[in-house]
């Protein structure tokens, strides 16, 4: 990848850390919030780079923190060169903007509308007092070694357990008031590794509630143990047991002779299929998969290995139209479920659901209630994530195109399936039509999920 040079139009604002603004740059007031934030982050990165006084060239694959040029060139000079350059390129490149600073990928020149997708940042340095378990987890997250919504939530909560156990309340503080300030930087660190999932958000909110509710007079160790127990219970009740109930409910909808179609990989769907087949139901499975992550391969491996392999068909997304006519039921996993019934799941899910709906095949989404989000999402653009280059490279085909000056590769991780394309959501409280999702928290008598 090229070291960002002066010809790199997007690097514009880089060292402009200072008052003198390049003329091409719109005044701060006229910039949108996102633009201002981008500028601010660039300035911050520039400052950091100046401080360390060394270009961090050696950073891991794809993600090279930008702006190594400032330390090399005195800010003034680069700025003037840049301004002229920008004047020339401003019009032509108006649409394209580089989020290399935020994305950590100097080549990426993604369209402005996708700039908020946010690539995982390189966890280059650790700020403040971060627990080793969290640092390790951050690395696992950013490397996509832990990827699923359930796995990430469980891993986060387990790491927080060790953070809580290793925490000692400073003098003149109480645990219930201080522990959260100790946890906040840990959470920030995790989020900087990869944007927080809805599941983690819900679990952390519950944890905060438990912390603030813990008894001030309790002996510290007891309070910590109590919190750890609460975490264990949360994992057990909301995830493990919930999965078991979902397995039974969804399994009862699988009948002999069925052809079940699933997309990518969901831990719950995998358990449902294995469990139903283990109970002697005779059905076959079509695993539909899609680049760049090709997670379906792992699912296929799990289903076909073992003492009792299930008959499976593996196909990529383009083959879906020819396969869908064979299918009796579509089983999908979910990353999150919004209160308008929309399902936020691996990119490609919406396509599968829509195709199934078009062919009158029932679509069941398997989703624990702790994945419910109070928010509403109307499309997959409002919030999304980009798959980092190194992850797509390692899982996809090696000959896959790499981005260049004129080529931008966009790999959104998620998409949104509107409620109308879903027949039923299988939760631990039963099969529910997606239109009634919003009434579940109320029915459970909860104000918080």
């Amino acid at each position: 990848m090229p070291v960002p040079s002066l010809t790199d139009p997007p690097s514009t604002s880089t060292p402009a850390a200072a008052p003198a603004k390049p003329q091409g740059q719109p005044s701060q007031k006229s910039m949108t919030k996102a633009e201002r934030r981008e500028l601010q982050e660039k300035q911050r990165a520039a400052k950091a780079a100046l401080k360390t006084q060394q270009p961090q060239g050696g950073g891991g694959g794809g993600g090279q923190p930008k702006a190594p040029k400032n330390p090399a060139a005195p800010p003034k000079k680069s700025q003037s060169a840049e301004t002229s350059k920008q004047g020339a390129s401003a019009g032509k490149d108006a649409i394209t903007t580089a989020d290399d600073t935020t994305g950590g990928n100097a080549v990426s020149r993604s369209l402005r509308i996708f700039s908020h997708f946010g690539l995982p940042k390189q966890v280059s340095h650790v700020k403040g007092d971060i627990h080793p378990a969290i640092i390790r987890l951050g690395l696992l997250f950013s490397e996509f070694k832990i990827c699923g919504a359930n796995a990430r939530c469980i891993a986060t909560l387990t790491a927080f357990k060790s953070v809580i156990q290793d925490y000692t309340t400073p003098p003149n503080h109480t645990l219930s008031r201080h522990l959260m300030t100790h946890l906040s930087p840990q959470i920030t660190h995790l989020v900087s590794a990869r944007p927080m999932s809805v599941t983690m958000g819900n679990a952390i909110r519950q944890l905060k509630l438990e912390i603030s509710g813990s008894d001030i007079d309790m002996v510290e160790q007891d309070a910590k143990d109590a919190l750890c127990l609460k975490i264990d219970n949360y994992i057990r009740d909301r995830i493990i047991y919930a999965d078991e109930v979902i397995q039974d409910l969804a399994g009862s909808k699988i009948k002999d002779g069925d052809v079940i179609l699933t997309f990518a990989r969901s831990s719950v769907v995998e358990k449902i299929l294995l469990n139903a087949y283990g109970k002697g139901k005779k059905f076959s499975i079509i695993v539909v998969d899609s680049p760049p992550l090709l997670e379906g391969k792992a699912l296929l491996n799990k289903l076909t290995s073992g003492p009792n392999p299930i008959p499976c068909t593996y196909a990529l997304l383009p083959a879906l139209p020819s396969l869908i006519t064979e299918v009796t039921t579509v089983l999908l996993g979910a990353h999150a479920l919004f209160s308008n019934g929309a399902v936020y799941s691996r990119a490609g899910t919406a396509l599968v659901a829509m195709m199934a709906k078009g062919h009158g095949v029932p679509v069941m989404v398997c989703c624990e209630t702790y994945k419910f989000s109070e928010g509403v999402m109307v499309d997959g653009f409002g919030k999304n994530e980009s798959a980092p280059m190194k992850v797509t490279k390692s899982t996809g085909r090696p000959e896959a195109v790499s981005p260049s000056q004129t080529l931008e590769i966009l790999n959104p991780l998620y998409d949104l399936t509107p409620a109308t394309f879903i027949t039923a959501v299988v939760t631990e409280v039963g099969l529910i039509p997606p239109s009634s999702i919003s009434s579940i928290p109320l029915a459970l008598g909860k104000t918080i999920l």
């Binding site: 909808k253 002779g257 039921t329 029932p362 069941m364 027949t423 039923a424 409280v429 039963g430 099969l431 529910i432 039509p433 239109s435 009634s436 009434s439 579940i440 109320l442 029915a443 459970l444 008598g445």
Partner: protein, 362 residues
């Protein structure tokens, strides 16, 4: 030791009573209650279950609930179409398990449960009037209504509407039971202009109709409707013609069930839609591949057919064969239904599912 000692006599007493209990047949009770013209299967099931309590010698809540569940199970197995009575059983058992009680005496509690069950059934009989009052507001003067088969709540609504407005009614014949004719006779007797149409003529008549009004076996969690077979096709045609499709359902017909398709209904069995036995034995390879094929019966037919060797045996298909081969009820998807009128209000299909989720998930 003491507990053992006290347990022993109870056991010996309970044994003779057990025999008496065996003599009580919940299915007979159910059928007897159902003879009442106004009684619908869910209510009859609730009353039959109260009789189970009456006849049961259960000494604890656990035993009682088990006895009720067994009773519900018997009813389910002996009734050809168990969907609507299931809704009643489910409701009553949920009620029994959740009823907060402070009676020190178990006998008192049983008496209380029986009283509550009977009271509910009595009260539930007034629901039809409530629904009729609600639905009449949606019927305009001069409306032409299409209804399907026979439903008590639809009858009550139409008769009430007739008192205040001029309505005319098309009613489907509703084969194979032909209950539509019963509806037409009752409506004509009441002075409502009425015409019986063939089930296959629904699409023909749809453009003349202002809206469709049907009763229900059960309303399910998806917000969909289970009703006499043919309702689904009427709903589809009504949707295609942009006519409102209204369902009337008493709240005891709300059922915690989520059918994904027609074949996911509890009433679906292997006899329904089975192909007639092949005259020429099919190549064995083909037989196995057909998922709807029930190889057991097919094999037998093969064996029977092959020695005959008559190339063209006379084929006769009787009405009974057709009946056996066809479903009694079908499932109408929620997106085809405009509104469900019930005693808890006029609900959209989403509203029904929210009501059900709230009732049982809590």
């Amino acid at each position: 030791m003491t507990s053992m000692a006290s347990y022993q006599p109870v056991l010996s007493i309970s044994k003779p009573e057990n025999k008496e209990e065996n003599q009580f047949d919940i299915y007979e009770a159910f059928q007897r209650i159902l003879k009442d013209e106004q009684m619908s299967p869910p209510l009859a099931a609730i009353l039959a279950l109260t009789e189970v309590i009456e006849n049961s010698n259960a000494g604890t809540m656990f035993e009682l609930v088990n006895a009720l569940k067994d009773g519900a199970e018997i009813l389910k197995h002996r009734t050809p179409n168990p969907i609507s009575l299931n809704a009643g059983c489910e409701l009553f058992i949920a009620f029994v398990t959740l009823l907060p009680h402070d009676s020190a005496n178990f006998l008192d509690l049983k008496r209380e449960l029986i009283r509550q069950g009977e009271q509910y059934a009595a009260e539930a009989l007034t629901y039809r009037q409530k629904i009729a009052d609600l639905a009449v507001g949606f019927i305009k003067d001069g409306s032409v209504i299409l209804t399907h088969s026979y439903s008590r709540v639809v009858m009550q609504t139409l008769l009430l509407a007739h008192k205040r407005k001029r309505i005319s009614v098309f009613v489907t014949e509703a084969r194979p039971r032909g209950l539509g004719i019963k509806t037409a006779e009752a409506l004509t007797a009441a002075g409502i202009p009425c015409s019986v149409i063939l089930d296959v003529a629904v699409a023909y008549v749809m453009d003349k109709v202002d809206f469709v009004l049907v009763g229900s076996e059960a309303v399910v969690e998806s917000g969909g409707l289970i009703n006499a077979v043919g309702s689904n096709q009427i709903a589809i045609i009504a949707k295609a013609a942009n006519k409102p499709f209204y369902a009337l359902a008493e709240s005891y017909k709300f059922h915690r069930l989520f059918p994904l398709s027609q074949y996911d209904l509890p009433s679906h069995n292997s006899k329904i839609l089975a192909f007639t036995q092949a005259l020429q034995p099919d190549p064995p390879g083909l037989m196995g591949q057909n998922p709807a094929d029930h190889s057991g019966s097919a094999d037998k037919s093969q064996i029977k057919m092959s020695p005959g060797l008559d190339p063209h045996p006379p084929v006769k298909i009787t009405q009974e064969q057709i009946c056996q081969n066809n479903p009694n009820v079908d499932y109408t998807r929620p997106d085809l239904i405009s509104l469900v009128f019930s005693d808890v209000g006029s609900l959209t299909p989403e509203g029904v599912s929210q009501y059900l989720v709230g009732m049982f998930a809590g």
